[in-house]
């Protein structure tokens, strides 16, 4: 058990160091997130009333797209230089190692989104009482995006042009997260109770946390075979 945990820790550290060495790439999904959100006032109207209504949906859809764009980096470079094959050959359980990689990916791409969201919600005139809910939904929701997305990446990593296909596979699976998260922020903006939505997000998180590493590991073995 201890060796499994140390393998988890070593892989997590390795991925974080690798990400740190390519700092400039880290900012890209974040910039995408900011740019997409700033397009909406330009495209719809700068009036605060309009923006307030669409803010939860816009922020969450942008988060969905940003998470999806960043997914490709999860396994791609490891697949190309062969280290993914070595990881899958190791004596440690593959689902656990997958979980380490997904966790590192979430720390790199999901966490910055959460930190940035309050700033962007001010841009869209989201009421103050909804901002905390927005942060909570992102904290519960973005790990689900990384976990479920990992299955899609694992299936498409061997393909040369997997990018568009990945969005086709993964986006329909993101729909429940979008519904509950954006719903919670909408309710909070109107001053209603949001605990029910957050419980559902928590349930989805624990479900994907327990099942997705196994599906991802199975998919990786298929892609590597």
């Amino acid at each position: 058990m201890a060796s499994e945990l140390s393998a988890f820790y070593i892989l997590l550290k390795r991925d974080l160091i690798l990400a740190y060495r390519h700092r400039s790439e880290l900012a890209n999904p974040l910039l995408f997130f900011i740019i997409v959100i700033s397009l909406f006032p330009l495209g719809i109207s700068p009036e605060s009333k309009n923006l307030q209504g669409i803010a939860p949906g816009v922020i969450w859809v942008a988060a969905l797209l940003a998470a999806m764009l960043s997914l490709d980096s999860l396994f791609r470079s490891d697949f190309e230089d062969g280290s993914l094959e070595q990881i899958s050959l190791s004596a440690h359980s593959l689902p656990l190692l997958v979980l380490a990689k997904v966790f590192a990916h979430w720390l790199i791409t999901g966490l910055p989104l959460i930190l940035l969201a309050p700033l962007l919600s001010v841009l869209l005139f989201l009421p103050d009482n909804a901002i905390l809910t927005l942060v909570a939904t992102l904290a519960l929701g973005t790990p689900i995006l990384s976990l479920v997305g990992a299955i899609g990446v694992a299936l498409t990593v061997g393909l040369r042009r997997g990018g568009v296909l990945l969005s086709l596979l993964v986006l329909p699976l993101y729909i429940p997260v979008l519904i509950f998260a954006a719903g919670a922020v909408n309710e909070a903006a109107r001053g209603f109770e949001v605990a029910g939505h957050l419980y559902f997000l928590g349930a989805l998180l624990s479900l994907s946390l327990t099942l997705s590493p196994f599906a991802t590991a199975a998919a990786l073995r298929i892609s590597l075979s």
Partner: protein, 249 residues
């Protein structure tokens, strides 16, 4: 029983047996389809509220049933193919996806055609419509993944994982969409309540449901036969089959 299944799972026997079965399934499908259409279009009375448009239901409802039924068949056979590496299960799963997508599309189109005169709009973001649309996306994703991977067996196993992930997700998606739509439009409850249905309307509905099932059985076997031939094209029995076919001409 087990021996029979094992025999059936060999591509060669499957090819022979399905050759015998297809005319039967197709013939019964035709009989049920004609009877269902006759009862649905001529015998069943027009609805007192929906008038003649209710007849769309005799295609729409069975198509919607089939869209879910085929997904179940596809996911189960994909799971069997994934676990026991049974070639035939992979073939059935791969052949089911396009048929399921067509039935889902048919259900959406007939629903829109019915909605235009009844609700005055082609589309509403009702729970059932939305989950049917998402089901179509899932089907299209599986078809896309299946055709993107060159090697047939890898493609089958990859789309099997996706189909299984989908089957865990379908209930979640369904209930989340249902909850979402009841939050937004609580007045649509009358749509989801089942009105008691008179036997003159139930009979054509059931006839059409059986006809659609038989249609699926016919088409899936036909597609599976083509797929089997393509996969086994380097084997002895396919060569024999082709040479026999050529000598007949």
């Amino acid at each position: 029983m087990w021996a029979f299944l094992q025999k059936l799972s060999s591509p060669k026997y499957f090819y022979q047996i399905s050759g015998y079965l297809i005319p039967w399934f197709g013939g019964f499908c035709l009989v049920f389809m004609l009877a269902g259409l006759y009862f649905g279009l001529f015998v069943a009375p027009p609805d007192y509220q929906q008038k003649e448009t209710v007849r769309i239901m005799y295609v729409h409802v069975p198509a919607a049933w089939m869209s879910l039924f085929i997904y179940m068949v596809m996911a189960i056979s994909a799971g069997i193919g994934l676990v026991w590496r049974m070639k035939l299960a992979e073939v059935i799963a791969a052949s089911s996806a396009p048929i399921g997508a067509s039935f889902t599309f048919l259900a959406l189109v007939t629903g829109a055609l019915w909605g235009q005169p009844m609700w005055g709009t082609w589309w509403v973001w009702d729970a059932r419509l939305t989950s049917e649309l998402i089901l179509l996306f899932l089907y299209l994703g599986i078809i896309a993944l299946n055709s993107a991977i060159e090697d047939k067996r890898t493609a089958a196993r990859a789309s099997a994982v996706l189909a299984l992930v989908g089957i865990v997700n379908i209930p979640i998606i369904h209930y989340s969409v249902e909850w979402w739509s009841t939050l937004h439009q609580p007045n649509s409850d009358w749509l989801t309540e089942k009105p008691s249905i008179h036997s003159s309307m139930l009979i054509p509905l059931l006839l059409m449901a059986v006809a659609f099932k038989l249609y699926y059985a016919t088409v899936v076997l036909k597609l599976a036969r083509c797929e089997v031939l393509e996969r086994e094209r380097n084997t002895h029995w396919v060569e024999e089959l082709v040479s026999r076919h050529q000598s007949q001409q």
